[in-house]
């Protein structure tokens, strides 16, 4: 009885008792969720256009952030370091297309997936070799991101919102909006979307496959940089950030591998739920740190009921 109470009733009583704290928790979860969604988005783009389950998406976030900070450390002014990093991400996209994707075209999915694991390792080693393995601080202020915090007093309580988090959320919304417009309105964007359904159709638009791939990986690189800046501002820059790379996977599967909307909703849902779970169940009942696995177990449970994810298309098997 006591036990059931502590699982089923007490957490909700706590939530009602301190609504301002609940709001704070929700906000923290939302910010994390936005970042998960961003990573997942880069992933969905690549998957849609090339059927590649890109395990390296998360590491690209770290790599981009590391490059940015590393360049700054080497004396490049912050505002110049950003475009330079984008150049690096572009070169990376070209290199990946040339060296990895092109020779592996038409190989089974699993092989391509493994190749992206190879890319992941390579980037980790390469990044550390050049910029060193130690923890770095994101150049938040130099980039002109406000760092103070705003406070509110709802329900007679107290909620504090970091300005950089707010900037992150707004930035993410703008980024996603731009991306959606690009995908839906531009010729290139439509080619990318068509590619997922039918290679021939996409080619008939007159854009070569390699161009599209480079473009897609470059967009994924831009998203990675954006994610890297905001996440780095919260948690520092190091390959320990890899964990969030893994977090993108449950987000994706929850949303369905091909759905842009699914990636966004999946990201937000997991960000918020894992925070709530950690604060109201994990810490009081299970010794905390449940954020390491909650997303995975949650996605697993959802998949048991909808094997194709929340927004994925149902697969009817044929023979």
């Amino acid at each position: 009885m006591e036990f059931l109470n502590s699982i089923l009733i007490k957490p909700f009583q706590d939530m009602v008792a301190a609504p301002d704290f609940l709001l704070q928790v929700l906000w923290e979860g939302l910010v994390a969720g936005v970042l998960y969604a961003l990573i997942a988005l880069g992933f969905v783009l690549i998957y849609k256009s090339s059927r590649i389950f890109n395990f390296a998406q998360g590491i690209m976030v770290v790599f981009a952030a590391l490059t940015l900070v590393g360049l700054h450390e080497k004396g490049v002014p912050a505002l110049l370091a950003v475009p330079l990093t984008l150049v690096v991400m572009f070169l990376l996209a070209v290199a990946i297309e040339r060296v990895v994707l092109r020779p592996l075209v038409n190989q089974p999915d699993i092989i391509l997936f493994m190749a992206t694991i190879g890319i992941t390792l390579f980037l980790v080693g390469f990044g550390e070799l050049i910029f060193g393995g130690e923890n770095k601080v994101m150049i938040t202020e130099q980039l002109g991101i406000p760092t103070g915090s705003l406070t509110f007093e709802p329900f007679g309580g107290f909620v504090s919102i970091e300005q950089k988090d707010l900037t992150a959320v707004i930035g993410a919304v703008v980024l996603v909006a731009v991306l959606l417009v690009f995908l839906n309105k531009s010729k290139m964007g439509r080619a990318i979307r068509a590619l997922g359904d039918d290679h021939q159709a996409a080619l008939s638009v007159g854009i070569s496959l390699s161009t599209i791939w480079i473009l897609v990986w470059f967009i994924a690189g831009i998203i990675a940089l954006a994610t890297g800046i905001v996440w780095g501002a919260r948690a520092g820059v190091s390959f320990a950030l890899e964990v969030i790379a893994y977090k993108a996977l449950p987000v994706l599967m929850l949303g369905g591998l091909e759905s842009v909307l699914g990636a966004i909703i999946g990201g937000l849902a997991i960000g918020i739920l894992e925070k709530l779970f950690e604060i109201y169940w994990g810490q009081p009942l299970m010794g905390g740190n449940t954020e390491t696995w909650f997303a995975f177990v949650f996605a697993l449970i959802v998949l048991l009921f909808r094997p194709q994810g929340l927004f994925g298309e149902r697969i009817i098997e044929r023979v």
């Binding site: 999915d109 493994m114 390792l121 393995g133 995975f296 048991l304 023979v319």
Partner: protein, 358 residues
């Protein structure tokens, strides 16, 4: 003419079902076994045992376990490290609860725990397919490592949160723990690995192996020839996790001597996965070749520059190692997606033809 097969006709299906229908293969294996059991132990140094030989064997065994699941039955797993952990913690609990139990029995029993956990996390594979299934094993990976950390009972509430291997005797000889000699440990591991490998070869070449491969190649068709997918997949999870669990127990008890939860974290899972991929998915031999490559690479990288007189920091070596492993994986996938094992096959076929080109 080393590999002349022309005169070796099979007169019965019985002969065709021998482990090595071609005589030279049997000789080669014989030579390798003589090396492994007699020549190497006489010549190897302490460093070689601990940095190369023992880890190669243990990693090869873990990769063999994973290979059964991924290479034979086609179910991708990213959680091997955690399943090794289950084996290791189970072994620790068994040994500390029954100090008089023979360690071989303890290790064999601990495999059943990882097999059970493997089956539990394998259940979703009946509904979830392909990449979506990767999430299941990742859930296992992160959840189990968290559990190793939070569940004090597992490590007997030791203040460090780590498990420590006591001195364990078998027939009057110390085989595990701080006082065990490397040679003894090497022999112990070698014997276990030889036995498990032999059993695994038998399973994979018979009915069960065929069933797994058919599920891997086309699960719908497998179901339509009457294969019970549930049994096929769960048996692969069970046997794979059993072997992985045994490898995990050896990993801690016969090699590391102690373990903290994060030892079983995702980098370990990936290391084992790479060994299986580079060695060759769907091959037994490949696990050994892959393990040799992955284990030896950092050792070579660490000693080579010193020998050549190039000053290089150990951190740099570490980073280079990661980078090279990544590049090697990509290279392999491009050049030969079937891994080192396929290379050996090609060489072998050339030898059979040699010296006649056709």
């Amino acid at each position: 003419m080393l590999y002349r097969t022309a005169s070796q006709f099979k007169t019965s299906y019985h002969a065709d079902h021998a482990l090595f229908p071609v005589r030279q293969d049997a000789w080669l294996l014989g030579i390798i076994l003589i090396f492994a059991y007699a020549i190497i132990p006489m010549t190897a140094s302490e460093f070689t045992f601990n940095a190369l030989l023992i880890p190669v064997l243990i990693y090869a065994l873990a990769a063999l376990g994973l290979n059964i699941l991924t290479g034979y039955a086609g179910q991708l797993s990213l959680g091997t490290g955690a399943f090794m952990g289950v084996g290791a913690y189970a072994c620790f609990k068994i040994i500390t609860a029954f100090p008089d139990l023979n360690i071989v029995v303890a290790i064999a029993l601990s495999g059943f725990f990882s097999a059970a956990v493997g089956v539990a996390f394998g259940l979703p594979s009946l509904r979830i397919k392909g990449f979506y299934l990767a999430i299941t094993t990742l859930a296992a990976q992160f959840f189990l490592v968290w559990l190793f950390e939070k569940w004090g009972w597992l490590y007997n509430y030791s203040s460090s949160g780590a498990i420590q291997v006591p001195n364990i005797e078998m027939f009057g000889i110390i085989v595990a723990g701080p006082n065990a000699s490397s040679v003894t440990q090497y022999y112990f591991v070698l014997a276990v690995v030889t036995a498990v490998t032999w059993l695994a070869i038998n399973i994979t070449r018979g009915r069960i192996g065929r069933i797994w491969k058919s599920v891997r190649d086309m699960d719908i068709a497998a179901e339509l020839v009457g294969i019970n997918l549930m049994k096929a997949k769960l048996s692969a999870f069970a046997i794979s996790s059993y072997i992985v669990g045994v490898a995990g127990a050896l990993f801690v008890f016969l090699w590391r001597g102690a373990a903290e939860p994060n030892l079983f974290d995702i980098p370990l899972s990936f290391r084992v996965l790479f060994i299986a991929i580079i060695g060759g998915l769907g091959s037994i031999l490949g696990n050994y070749l892959g393990a040799i490559l992955i284990v030896a690479l950092p050792v070579v990288l660490g000693t080579l520059p010193g020998m050549l007189g190039i000053p290089i920091q150990s951190a740099t070596v570490e980073h280079l190692n990661v980078m090279i492993v990544g590049a090697t994986i990509i290279l392999f996938l491009i050049v030969e997606p079937h891994g080192l094992a396929r290379f050996w096959q090609i060489i072998r076929e050339k030898l059979i033809m040699w010296p006649f080109p056709h």
